[in-house]
Symmetry: C2
Subunit: 300 residues, 2 copies
């Protein structure tokens, strides 16, 4: 079953303490769509400029990602550059050029309005609203967000929460949005604002899933080396919605599995820059790491 994913498509320049790369394929929709594509077809909604490399379009096509919703506009593609400090948890944005993204309006191809599983990947809440305005009756809508939107367009974001089934954010964002330090209490407050489900990402500490009478904790894969964590949150969201859609289920057991599959894809993504690690990955690789997650969290 198809998933619809809307978000940013970007050209990234990323510097770590060891390497620097320019004009990498990036953006929340790129990462999330490739992550979702391991489980079934994905429909991508976004915008690119005239400078967007054909090789990246080929990559999407090769992964079974339908780009009928990917607008090509005059001008340059959204560009982001950032730098990681030694421990990889601290990222500094060096520059952002919105370019064609400045006037982006995510209009859906009419045939896509019936898509049942929707990921509103990390973009401005007003654009996430605009996508939902066009959908008929989506079965399950997941919204990802970030601190920028909490700080700059909080009302739009809060309004969005009433329209989605699941919110994804990280632990510091959950605390910032609610003003509550205790994560279980912050989770309850966020769920009271709308979404039945909440996933709180904690980076190297794994993630938490909250629902009605439901709490699930997943560890993170023990990576010896993190080469580039850019896009890991997007991969988590994309893997999650992709697996949910493939399973055609939205119950607690399906969501637990989807959270682990999202964590699996995110863990692979951190092993190289941009989407390079995912490019060579097979579904068998993904399933093998899913089984590793099961082994390392089980006790009798």
């Amino acid at each position: 079953m198809s998933v619809l994913i809307v978000g940013s498509v970007a050209l990234d320049s990323v510097r770590t303490q060891h390497e620097a790369h320019e004009n990498l394929l990036g953006g929340s929709a790129s990462y999330a769509s490739v992550a979702a594509s391991f489980f079934g077809p994905a429909r991508m909604v976004g915008i690119v400029g005239e400078d967007f490399p054909g090789a990246y379009l080929d990559l999407f096509a090769g992964r079974g990602i339908d780009c009928a919703g990917l607008q090509r506009a005059r001008g340059k593609t959204f560009a982001w550059s950032g730098e990681y400090e030694t421990n990889m948890n601290n990222r500094r944005t060096l520059s952002v050029a919105l370019n064609v993204f400045e006037t982006f309006r995510p209009d859906l191809p009419p045939a896509w309005r019936d898509t049942e599983f929707v990921l509103l990947a990390n973009i401005a809440p007003v654009l996430q609203h605009h996508v939902l305005d066009q959908m008929r009756r989506p079965r399950f809508v997941v919204a990802d967000t970030m601190d920028l939107w909490i700080q700059t367009t909080r009302d739009d974001l809060v309004g969005l929460l009433r329209r989605v089934d699941m919110l994804i954010l990280n632990d510091s964002e959950a605390r910032e949005l609610t003003g509550i330090d205790s994560l279980p209490r912050a989770a309850a407050a966020l769920r009271a604002m709308g979404p039945a489900w909440l996933a709180i990402k904690k980076g190297e500490h794994g993630c938490l899933l909250f629902g009605d009478d439901e709490f699930f904790t997943a560890g993170a894969f023990p990576l010896e080396e993190v080469k580039d964590p850019t896009g890991c949150g997007d991969c988590f969201a994309g893997g999650l919605i992709g697996h949910l859609a493939a399973s055609r289920a939205t119950d607690a057991a399906a969501l637990r599995r989807a959270v682990v599959y999202g964590s699996v894809i995110a863990s692979f993504n951190a092993e190289s820059f941009s989407l390079r690690r995912l490019e060579g990955l097979t579904r068998a690789d993904v399933d093998a790491r899913f089984e590793a997650f099961r082994r390392f969290s089980r006790f009798e």
Copy 2:
């Protein structure tokens, strides 16, 4: 089967943003022994002064803790006072008075030298060595430690690692002792220094267990409110060794269970000051929370 636990016994004064309490029962041996006592008898080695309240001795006796190794000396009991900031992760030590602890030499009652399960709770490594010097052939020795010993008596600590089966420390201490940022790599380096097993505590993020071809990750219990985290690390270690001794096993499955039981006791401990929460707790409460840990980490 008995466990032998050596560590500090203290009178603590603890201040949080909401409450302040003085002359609380504290110290690594106190917390660890009470934690271990949920699973079987414990033998405590430590020292107290003339001011140590009889009510605290009664508490130990009531929990089946043998205090034949608890020395009573002239002078005052080791006293510590500290303060927690709002988020409970940052603790500031306000004062430390070693008092009788300054001349403490943990000599064992002769009959205790054959104890099979030993916890060297958090005290100076030279004292931990002294206990091991007196043991005959312990089956499983666990050592806990802290940043202070890494910084002030590193050589003693490193020497100790060759003599123990398991080391327990927190994530920042693992990084500090090895100079390695990646936890899986730091874990490998620590295990190469001696202990076959390593537990890395991560507070609200749970803990990790490393062994030969063995990796296990346990989440933390989702506490709505942390009243006082003092002694949680000691409770983790005490619950772990207590459950191991009761199970009479030291294989990977037993260690996984012991890690979860340690986490269970630590999570209860954070719910009140000093050992108050554990005082009213039953083995059935402990087992119920163990089952909750299983429920919230399972996926099909």
